[in-house]
Amino acid sequence: MSTAPAFWGGCLCGAILYRAKAEPIRVVHCHCSLCRRSSGAPFLTWVAFPTEAFAFTRGTPVAYKATPKAERTFCATCGTHLTFRHVESPHMVDVTVGSLNDPNAIRPNDHIWTSAQVTWLHVDDSLPRHRGERGEK
């Protein structure tokens, strides 16, 4: 029997449900302008799972490409943002922590794209901060 943890989530209206059965690869707060504008939130927190460990178990979300290399999905009925995939990281899928049934079950690791962060947002968590992607100063 597998001992991998399982995470469940979905959109607000319940039309889309998903399950991830694996340890998260990473959990990041992303402050980039595309995360902000595409969601309507000041930043998005993403939990990454191995692609093969993630599956939608009910419904199919709408896909939107804000850039040629990345695809975001959301529920067509209630608008909840659900996933992010990048062609250069096909091994993982990012899932919005706000769509998890229990967002307290995960722990963020760091912040990325702080160069684009709204200046009135003050998050006091002492996590590593990266001006761009990880590895960029």
Partner: protein, 123 residues
């Protein structure tokens, strides 16, 4: 509710007088997220745009992150901290309300625009 409706840890809203707000291009999808509240979002890309409550028809909330310049509208307080994700620590020294302004009896109506701007932690 805000968290699950958007997929974000928090959502920041700017409250406007309804008569001071208009869509100038396109129409959002409208979703009844509760018996008395309606949220609007773009059907093409999913951006959350608006929140209206039937008990306050003279107001509309718009997501600050959908503004062309979100820097122009710094938040004034936090609401629904009862539902806040535990790992999220905000050190902005703004007032933190366990529920919303209406529960706390504050008069949110004003002729200023925006009349309130709130970092929402749930709802």
């Amino acid at each position: 509710m805000c968290r699950r409706a958007v997929g974000a840890a928090v959502v920041t809203w700017a409250t406007l007088r309804s008569q001071n707000f208009a869509f100038t291009k396109g129409e959002p999808v409208r979703f009844r997220s509760s018996a008395k509240a309606e949220r609007g979002f773009c059907p093409s890309c999913g951006t959350s745009l608006t929140f209206r409550h039937d008990d306050h028809p003279d107001e509309i909330d718009i997501t600050v992150a959908s503004l062309d310049n979100p820097e122009a509208v710094p938040p004034r307080d936090h609401i629904w901290t009862l539902s806040k994700i535990r790992w999220l620590r905000l050190d902005d020294h703004l007032p933190q309300l366990e529920r919303d302004h209406w529960h706390h009896g504050q008069d949110e109506a004003s002729d200023h625009t925006p009349v309130a701007c709130t970092l929402v932690n749930g709802r």
